[in-house]
Symmetry: C2
Subunit: 393 residues, 2 copies
């Protein structure tokens, strides 16, 4: 594990993993991780950030799980973009995840492109980038890799595991794989299995990437190029699904971009076009195309019921974890109905579960925003759980 | 006007407009069409199909307007794919649009790629393909071009103008531009203006096409290539929006394609992936990428209220046209709320309007399918309108 300091402006194409700010757990070959696909992965690395201090009995650790295109910089400015951490308003002294009280860990997922082992990294066995030779991973593989970070700290049980979207899938997988290691769990705006529509949207993104000639079968890094156009299109398509129609209408409507009249051309006449193009073009500066393939695939493969004989409740039988499920009314990517299925499964095994649907028109992205009712819900749940856990204020 | 016969298998890349089955109206330069962008387009051509017989007083003509990727082969096998016409179950003897009673016309829209003037065709002034030098057209331009076909037949008034999706926009534009020429109008699953979300989805498609290096700034035909990969991705993204989540779930769920287990790779493991890939790859055999740009742009520009001082009702003030608006409950591309806005505008000017929301889980595509309640609605409306028009059975 090393803790290097940020030196100069980093870019995705050029950075060396060891120059990234934050921590890095290097797992040796003899502790290889058996992946769902059957491959033993090792050595491998997990890059992560921590906030706050682990208490003496190691009972105050919170694992934050990031979404598809998130990373470990949850409450730290992003080393490439300089933008605030993606949950900066959630994590810090006195905030919902109070770093005066909790020890917060956020790892870059296995398969990611911000320092954890993934297709962007060097395969130690060959000295070349993994590319498509990196094994296809699952949400469970991500979680097993995160558990190695707990082992590293000697943390037997997380006080809480929390995350939205793909982060919520990891939360559910944590609770299913390691029930004794999860005191409380907060899956947000997620699903216990990826729907056909969501697989379809992911497949569009993958096809956009793979259609870009610069993808070169995943070996672009070898050639010093990147499929930035395909990746931008993938991001644009995905981004629409993160917003609600109402939010798009309120934010942009049919307003024109820097002009009084339509141009009768193919420039970005409308603000919504300009916005989407910007989303696409900035994304490619911080994300790796092959990682996008791997991580979307992991989401598509996720099906917690299928792993448990087709009965979702079996994933949680006997659990003592306290659950708080949160959904958002205008989220059409992971709608309330998907979240409610999780609640029904937990009810079926008499688990301790609360379920809150937050009224908002901000769509799936609401989980990344300061929604007062959302934050109040989390505060209330965490306060109760901390009391039961005997955590000091 | 010529009526050539189908000879051998045609393909989009190679066909000459004059080898297409059906009719073709060639408008000479002296009758140029003044487009909304200010350009005078002429000479130009409109390719179309007809079904049934025009009656003596020319009162039984029905204009069918096709959607984004439709064409004039509404009840005729497609010359490239050999598939049945896209409304074949709607048009014919004894069917909803009864060809024993009505004279049905369906034109390929201006800007299209099935014989009407558009970026795929030869610019007579240069002898080269138009490509991006073709003027950007609007829904109103499409309708004005269709009106030339009526002029050609000496038809003063259509008995009915009918269409779904972009076809519905043309219906509304017909009623607004030529109120005296439209006895009845049936806009289906449409909107009086394109929403921010719909513009966004179109922009993703356009970016996918323009990101393909083989698009070559729209000049691909000059180079004997085609941006088939970008166009396929555009089609895949759009296709998801035509279906409902429920329909995708029922049709595919998480079923695997020709395998018992996931492959831990990037092949099409899931049926929904395989289906989407098929949609993309077959589409490029029958559609032109530049036409896709132009026609999506025309949809995005469509805003009937904006053309009438910001008040949609003004578009229909004084209308004597009889309207029947149809929407589908699970259509999230042109939801009932958008269709209801049209009804409200028509109500505000005391127009003769009926509005029917059809219960279905088949999404936007329902307008192309044999939905019994949908068909019954159309039959009932047309029967009443025909009686008022004094059309013989």
């Amino acid at each position: 594990m090393s803790t290097p300091q940020r030196s100069e402006k980093l870019t995705l194409a050029s950075f060396d993993t060891r120059t990234l700010p934050g921590h890095r757990l290097e797992v040796p070959a003899e502790s290889a991780l058996r992946l769902d696909c059957g491959v033993d992965l090792g050595p491998f690395a997990i890059a992560y950030q921590t906030y706050g201090t682990l208490n003496a009995d190691k009972s105050n650790a919170v694992m934050v799980c990031h979404a598809l295109t998130g990373d470990q910089f949850v409450a730290t400015p992003h080393p490439f973009t300089g933008k605030p951490g993606w949950w900066e308003h959630m994590i810090g002294p006195g905030l919902v995840l109070d770093t005066d009280r909790y020890f917060v860990i956020c790892t870059n997922v296995l398969g990611g492109c911000m320092g954890s082992s993934g297709p962007r990294e060097i395969n130690p066995a060959t000295g070349k980038r993994w590319g498509l030779s990196f094994p296809v991973i699952t949400i469970a593989d991500m979680v097993r890799a995160q558990a190695r970070v707990l082992d590293h700290y000697g943390i037997d049980q997380l006080f809480c595991v929390i995350g939205g979207s793909m982060g919520g899938m990891q939360v559910l997988q944590w609770a299913a794989l390691y029930p004794e290691r999860v005191f409380s769990a907060v899956p947000i705006a997620t699903a216990a299995r990826h729907s056909a529509q969501n697989i379809a949207f992911h497949e569009v993104g993958r096809q956009a990437i793979m259609a870009d000639p610069e993808w070169t079968g995943g070996a672009y890094a070898e050639h010093g190029i990147r499929p930035h156009r395909g990746l931008a299109v993938a991001r644009m398509a995905a981004h629409i699904t993160y917003l609600s129609e109402v939010a798009l209408h309120r934010k942009f409507g049919r307003s024109l971009q820097d002009r009084q009249q339509i141009s009768f051309g193919f420039d970005a006449d409308f603000q919504v076009e300009s916005y989407l193009r910007h989303q696409g073009s900035t994304f490619v500066d911080r994300f790796d195309a092959n990682s996008y393939l791997y991580i979307t695939r992991a989401c598509d493969y996720f099906d917690l019921a299928a792993e448990h004989g087709g009965v979702l409740a079996n994933a949680f039988r006997g659990t003592r974890t306290r659950f708080c499920i949160v959904s958002f009314t205008s989220d059409w990517l992971y709608p309330t109905s998907e979240n409610r299925m999780i609640m029904h499964a937990l009810n079926a095994v008499a688990a301790n579960v609360s379920f809150v649907e937050i009224e908002t028109d901000k769509g799936h992205d609401a989980f990344l925003l300061e929604e007062p009712e959302f934050f109040a819900t989390l505060r209330g749940f965490l306060a109760g759980a901390a009391e039961h856990r005997g955590l000091k204020r």
